[in-house]
């Protein structure tokens, strides 16, 4: 593998392109005619072109030199994604403040500078500030902390 960045980008495009064609065909989006195009016309053309671009890019990458991919930041990737997903899953259930605390603590773990005595005040501070700004100030319709305060 001489040019891994281009190779993977090509494969990514190829995958998205083929998926678009597959979904369009399986769901039966009509292609229609040039005069009266159906909902499938654009997606199938786009998917085909994208797959082609991906194929060319991946093919060319085998012959050209490129920088290595480098380390993947797996820990930050997982923690930040997980934190955001948990925020989404909990905000309407346990309220804004606890959801923020979860998000801040989880994502803080991704930093090598993580210290609990920093992360906890940060989480609480952001929770209080957000409740004040978004719920009290801007009137967003979401409970702040229903379990403890009952609202």
């Amino acid at each position: 593998m001489k040019n891994p960045k281009d190779l993977w980008a090509g494969l990514l495009f190829l995958g998205f392109g083929l998926a678009a064609i597959a979904i369009s065909s399986v769901s039966g989006y009509e292609v229609g005619s040039a005069r009266h195009m159906g909902p499938g016309y654009f997606p199938i053309w786009l998917g085909g072109s994208l797959a082609l671009v991906g194929l060319v890019l991946a093919g060319k990458s085998l012959a050209t030199e490129g920088p290595p991919l480098g380390q993947w930041a797996l820990k930050p990737l997982v923690l930040i994604t997980l934190g955001t997903l948990l925020f989404a899953g909990t905000v309407n259930v346990v309220g804004l403040a606890p959801a923020i605390v979860v998000l801040v603590l989880l994502s803080s773990l991704a930093s090598t500078h993580f210290k609990l005595q920093w992360a906890i005040p940060l989480a609480l501070g952001l929770a209080v500030a957000s409740v004040l700004i978004f719920i009290k100030g801007l009137g967003i319709a979401v409970p702040a902390m229903p379990l403890l305060l009952g609202y």
């Binding site: 500030a129 004040l132 700004i133 009290k136 100030g137 801007l138 009137g139 319709a141």
Partner: protein
């Protein structure tokens, strides 16, 4: 420092929105969900209602929240499933409660709601550009007969009351296949649809009068027919379908109503029915609604319910008869 600033903003906002407290309903702000995007006809209906009720409820006590998506179904479903305590209401539209339920299944029963009342109606008007050769509705129909499948018309989208209105009108004009007699060109929303007729990109447009009143007033569009029985206040010369001897077009009308989730707290229902009957007499509200190009039409719950039921039944029948589906 950021926080200081934001807190200052919060304080300023709190000052702007200071509210009087009271013990009975409503004791906190009421959310009025508009199932479409800001700036549209439904949003305007909601905001003029909010402005008209501010004196009674206190400023900022009826909070308009736009939750658009899926042709209004997302916002409507949310209110349908909301706590029936009277603090979540829906600005219901012809789309959420007549046309879309007539054409496909929706996650709620369009008639099982706490009906607080109709608010306003939006007559559908068909118009041509100022340079068009068609001076009257009959000219237009003759042209469609003379050149079948050539004349184009724009609407705010497939399956809207405007698209259906045009199809019903063509059916009543005697075309055997009203979906093919003229070519329907859908646009993304009423504004672009009306503009297409102004520019002459299409031959005519069927659209809520409120979304093209500016063009008709400036002379860029010439209104040929108003569907239904109500005349346009601005243009009494434009004939209604009833005057032209076309019966049964009153179902092709846009409307906005105020609904709550099923089994809504009876206290809250009573409060709103009373409040709406006060708003009905409010001259400033009437003027605002008319300026928006709509017809003020606050009806009591029973009348609203009968209307909704009839409209839905008729629309379902028309959809089946003509084979229209989404």
């Amino acid at each position: 420092m950021l926080r200081t600033c934001v807190l200052a903003a919060t304080a300023a906002l709190a000052l702007l929105g200071a509210t009087p407290a009271s013990a009975v309903y409503p004791e906190k702000p009421i959310t009025l969900i508009v199932p479409y995007s800001p700036g549209g006809a439904s949003d305007q209906a909601a905001r003029s209602l909010a402005a008209a009720t501010a004196a009674k409820l206190g400023p900022n006590q009826l909070v308009v929240v736009n939750k658009d998506g899926a042709g209004g179904i997302i916002g409507a479903t949310e209110v349908y499933k909301a706590k029936p305590d009277g603090y979540t209401l829906l600005l219901a539209r012809v789309g959420t409660h007549t046309t879309v339920p007539a054409l496909r299944s929706v996650p709620y029963d369009p008639l099982n709601w706490a009906i607080l009342g109709m608010l306003e109606t939006n007559p559908v008007t068909c118009a041509v550009g100022k340079d068009s050769a068609y001076k009257t509705y009959q000219d237009l129909i003759n042209a469609i007969k003379a050149t079948p499948e050539k004349i184009t018309y724009s609407s705010a989208g497939p399956g809207t009351i405007l698209h259906l209105g045009a199809i019903i009108l063509l059916e009543k004009a005697g075309f055997t296949d009203p979906q093919k007699a003229a070519i329907h060109i859908p646009y993304k929303g009423g504004g672009p649809a009306a503009l297409a007729a102004v520019k002459g990109e299409v031959d005519f447009v069927c659209q809520s009068y409120n979304e093209m009143s500016a063009h008709v007033k400036s002379g860029a569009l010439r209104a040929l027919i108003v569907l239904g029985d109500d005349k346009l206040t601005d243009f009494p010369d434009v004939p209604t379908s009833k005057e032209l001897g076309i019966p049964g077009m009153e179902i092709a009308i846009g409307w906005s109503g105020l609904l709550g989730p099923p089994k809504m707290d009876p206290e809250a229902v009573k409060f709103w029915v009373n409040l709406l009957s006060e708003v009905k007499e409010d001259k400033a509200w009437q003027d605002t609604v008319r300026r928006l190009g709509s017809v003020p039409a606050i009806w009591p719950p029973e009348q609203t319910k009968t209307f909704m039921q009839t409209a839905l039944d008729k629309m379902k029948k028309i959809a089946t008869d003509l084979g229209i589906k989404l």
